[in-house]
Symmetry: C2
Subunit: 408 residues, 2 copies
């Protein structure tokens, strides 16, 4: 596909008009929406209104008058269709790490006779730390970390929960979530998914997968802004039994009665704890409006097309000098693609200098994300031209291997 | 004190110039800074820059280029002098509830042979929920809730940690933190303080008190904005032994190495977990700049003077129709004062209609906060006039007892 054909295809894309909702610097090809989603002018406007009007002039009254109290639930309602969930199955709160802690503790509670948390060595490291932290605290769990291709082989009747990240943050490889969830259920284990690299880009379907618990972040494909709140999913069939180990008044059935006795709220809302971060929560609410009427299958289709185009063009324009890391089958990868190159760090820096923003994952990966809401085919074509040109020139600082401290 | 004398005293107050840093609506007397601190124009300006410049244009690069990665530590450095702490003893992160969970888990770890978490019935309910949540999760703790005046009597060698809120969120009564900490230490227990209603208003001194662990929020007297991040204090003498049960990459010694093995960061920073909420964290950083060069003893002195003036004027102008709830001795109360009245809910609403913003704590309290950075003596005089006038008139809606859902 050449640039002209790409532009024509962009113009005909049923999601193509959504790009206009985002403000991206003109000089940049932004292929890192898998790490930090782009700003929408409507979000900046909303934040000005929250800061100057609701906080500055409304002050404490805004908890009621501006509806701050209801923000977590309103955002849950917006996220639900992106996850194949219902509002009552979602709590929008805390960091993904804290939510995973709560989800794994709930899984332990739901499977009290089992002792193993099963995960894979391709998981995002934090998720493994969280599992170990819970195991050390309770003293009765074992964390089993296995090779990513052998997870199903290690499912047995000792496993309380299988906890995996749907899309590998480094490679872009995607687990078959429905099959693995079924395999977990076959041995009586629960399935706990980290959807950080999936939600807002792929056809995530808690209902179809039959997932038990899930967590994820909203600052990647959901464009909530840096460090925006995470979410926690609890399937409705567990609502009678699952409680949160980290309790707080926002997860109480009647927070403003100030009862000393804890009475959990209905559904997943009991997994809320302290006062919600209103600035981030308001930004997220407005950021999610762009998804209204957008089907997750359409997002996934566009992500597949963009990643597929990138892979095809790298093959054609660059060839074996770089290795395409994720699978060629679209359903086996997410919305980002990593390429392997021995000077990946320097290459990433040189590309950023040229305005092509991806990121480096040590030791040898350059990672590019293709946010289906706003990345265009023309950008994919231009980015591959830049990569090819750079590699052909060899014109980058080969000593510049400093670790980029960007955030997944 | 009349209005003229009050104005003269305000003009001579060594902290009086700080009011100019805040934007408060002209028609309002804001006596709820103990619940949500006021906005500073500098904070609004900073947020515009973070949103439009750092997020919108800098995008993922801002984690390094705008120093987002270092924000938690920079804010810890700012908070340290307000707490009598050092930077390495503070983690700025998560909600107060989540931080208390981590602090109590650390206390359990540091006192492995003890089984009791001791707290009082005047504690903020969330803090009691958190203790119970940890006890249910670990299965080896007992939460002992005693009358607030009898805490010292219940300290014994079964107590792993005494966990109290320094200033009672309802009444304004203050614990003698240094004495209670010493009493806890006398029986080998740890002292865990919730400083939400103290930090930024009182002379909080982790070092002098000898506190072991502490938590608190920053959206009250620290003016970080609605739902801004909490903090967690860990005394340096525990740094070798205390670990966080809720782990994440921001609490790792080398987060960007993406090691599967967890290696805790030095000091309290290991109690960070997921990606920090950048908008709230940046707002907080700018909000705290107003404290530069302000001594906590001066804050406490001004809070004592403002609360004392309020109490004196209520006595003089209103008399026994309302009861002053906190102690008359300044060192035994915080920076807010509650008055008791049988129609407290309706009274609160009527006062808000007149522009005097306090809040209602059921069943019979109206609570007024006196933020020492920006509340003036003139406002205290005017507020008491409004209360007296309202009570004398009886002109409020006696049916309006709906629960105000404002946030402590």
């Amino acid at each position: 596909m050449d640039r002209h054909t790409a532009a024509l295809a962009d113009a005909e894309d049923p999601l193509g008009h959504l790009r206009a909702a985002f403000s991206l610097p003109a000089e940049v090809i932004y292929l890192d929406g898998n790490s930090l989603g782009a700003l929408q002018p409507a979000v900046a406007e909303r934040l000005r209104s929250v800061i100057d009007g609701e906080w500055g002039r409304g002050l404490i009254r805004s908890w009621n008058d501006a509806g701050w109290v209801e923000l977590p639930r309103r955002v849950a309602t917006q996220l639900a269709p992106l996850l194949g969930a219902s509002t009552s199955e979602l709590a929008v709160t805390d960091s993904t790490s804290a939510n995973l802690f709560k989800a794994l503790a709930a899984a332990r509670q739901l499977r009290p006779d089992r002792r193993v948390l099963l995960t894979d060595d391709a998981n995002f490291p934090t998720d493994v730390y969280v599992a170990h932290g819970l195991a050390e605290l309770t003293g009765d769990l074992e964390v089993r970390v296995v090779s990513t291709h052998e997870v199903a082989d290690h499912l047995d009747e000792q496993v309380a929960a299988m906890t995996l990240t749907h899309v590998d943050y480094r490679t872009g490889r995607r687990h078959d979530a429905a099959s693995l969830t079924a395999a977990a259920h076959d041995v009586g284990a629960l399935a706990v998914w980290d959807l950080s690299h999936s939600v807002g880009a792929l056809d995530v379907a808690m209902d179809t997968w039959g997932a038990d618990l899930a967590v994820g972040c909203t600052y990647k494909y959901c464009n909530g802004g840096p460090g925006s709140p995470g979410f926690l999913y609890v399937a409705s069939r567990w609502h009678d039994q699952a409680t949160s180990p980290v309790r707080g008044w926002f997860g109480h059935a009647r927070p403003f009665a100030f009862d000393l006795g804890y009475q959990p709220a209905e559904g997943a809302e009991r997994f809320l704890d302290g006062s919600p971060p209103i600035l981030s929560m308001a930004a997220l609410e407005t950021a999610l409006e762009v998804f209204e009427g957008v089907d997750v299958a359409a997002l996934e289709a566009r992500a597949a097309e963009l990643t597929g185009l990138f892979i095809q063009l790298v093959d054609e324009r660059i060839g074996p000098e770089v290795e395409i890391v994720p699978p060629r089958v679209p359903t086996e990868r997410g919305a980002h693609v990593s390429i392997r190159h021995e000077e990946a760090g320097a290459l990433t820096q040189a590309l950023i200098t040229r305005g092509v923003i991806g990121d480096h994952r040590p030791p040898d990966l350059v990672r590019f994300g293709f946010a289906p809401l706003y990345t265009t085919r023309v950008e994919v074509v231009d980015a591959v031209e830049q990569i090819a040109d750079l590699l052909a020139s060899g014109a980058w600082d080969h000593d510049d291997f400093r670790l980029q401290r960007t955030v997944t």
